[in-house]
Amino acid sequence: MRHHSTVGKKERISALGLDREDTAEKFNDLDDVMASPSAEWKRPWWVREVTKPTMDIDWDATERFDARKIQQVSWKKYVGEEKAKELGKRREEKVRQWMIEKRSGYTLRDRALDIAGAQAGSVDTSFLGSWAKTAEATKNEGEMFARDASRSKLTDPARPKPMSPEELGVPCYEGTPQENSRMIRSALRHFGASQVGYVELNDYTKKLIYAEDAMDGKRIEFENVDKAYETKEKRVIPEKAKWVIVFSVQMSEELIKRKSGLMPSALSAAATGAAYGQARNAIDQLQCFLHVLGYQGLMGTWFNGLGIAPAFAVMAGLGEIGRINRMISPEHGPLQRVFKVVTDLPLEPTKPIDAGIMNFCRTCKVCADECPADCLSKETEPYWEPKGPWNNPGHKTWYEDSPTCRTWWAVSTAGCSTCFAVCAFSKKNISVIHDLVKIAIAKNRILPDKVNAFFAKMDGVFGYQDQRNIDDWWGMELPPRGTKNVKGTQLD
């Protein structure tokens, strides 16, 4: 059917401003559109940009961290090899037994969803990009994963190596930092990211880049070279690659709340796994995108990447640090996972924010009260002293007991996200009441602690922390990825 406009051609052209020579905002091409102020990242008005994060940082006391110290890598060392072995054995027995019993949340289909979500993603993360893994480098991974970097680029249908501008015989892409920032945000949203921010690497923020890689222990160093490279001992980031793209992938609130009481289920764990699986592809796509534009995109060999995720997320203003010692954003709360790619594409850094979240966490404590492993701090004020070697000192936060958290994963047989699920900021954001509460948290100066404690209490009264029926999830008709709480997009 043809739709007739009631506005004439002349009026339409006039409305677009195409007939005015002196128009203040004239778009010549897409690059101009990207540079338009109207294309900037729109945050809620109560989110205040600040020069320093709400979390106190002592940069002198901050050292580059050995990523092998995190609990995901060194848990066995922290709890003892024997205990870890015993817990692992018992976990396997329980997993099998609960599948046979068809225990709600731990059935074969629940477990399959969790495993498939985390395993999904056609590539493993790599320092230089998946195509840089040659057949030689990947021969131990079997034929299926081997990739020949010398294969033809435009004609090979099987995942060809992307061409750089040099290979294509065209100049590299060039834009202002503002245009580049806008472009990367648009591209990453297309690849599945939720929020996107940028951090400039200086003498301070370089300390947030790991000193050693989590998986293979290779040193991560900065050198005055043109191209990043990798040897058997180290991975080298060029000094000119001084921007970090920080982005998040949302998790399904409906799925993560399908726990068994306070105990995580295989089904609730699938929310986390799927975000990592999606991120794996998004990271590879971003590295490829940058390569085709003529720039470098550098990632670690594991999900944790080249730097500390919550730290970069806070510095980029995606959110604030919370009691869970992870980033909580005003829009999505903790229901997202954070990823980073280092690049030499000039970007405009985004500022840290203050939306009253860290202050709210001082008095809320719901996550700490509900933590089944009792590994979150219940202290009102954050503190400087880390709980153990798995924490990187130098900032004032609520340091958590990570090995105890991980031990609980082994006991419960599933990755625990109870603290994420019960957080007062974990909402779908359809009712305006959530925004009203967030405005009060950000702006109220009258007895803020008492008001915030009241909001935390009411969160429970309204039933937001209540147990969901686990098996009902399989009969639900949810949107893709189970999320519908994106805020600030043009399709809201």
């Binding site: 909402k427 779908k428 359809i430 009712s431 305006v432 009441i433 009264v461 309204f462 039933g463 209540d466």
Partner: protein, 85 residues
Amino acid sequence: MWRFIYGVVLGAGGMAFWDWLKSENITVDWYVWPLMLLALALGTLAVHHFFASRAELEPKAAWIGLVIFGVPALLLSGWMISFFN
């Protein structure tokens, strides 16, 4: 669409109310106006939150919100009806 319909109903209702006050020659004390606005805001919030919470798959939040915001709205409305009578 719902916002549009709500705006039309609110506008039409407000105009009719204003005409009625003038035709009946009723003088309204100053403090009645903010209370009327409060009742309207609470009533709107109660209805919005009820349906929004159902859309969020939060039935308990929907009913509790309806009571917490709706009951004061009804009480205020009842008081105002008695005031105008």
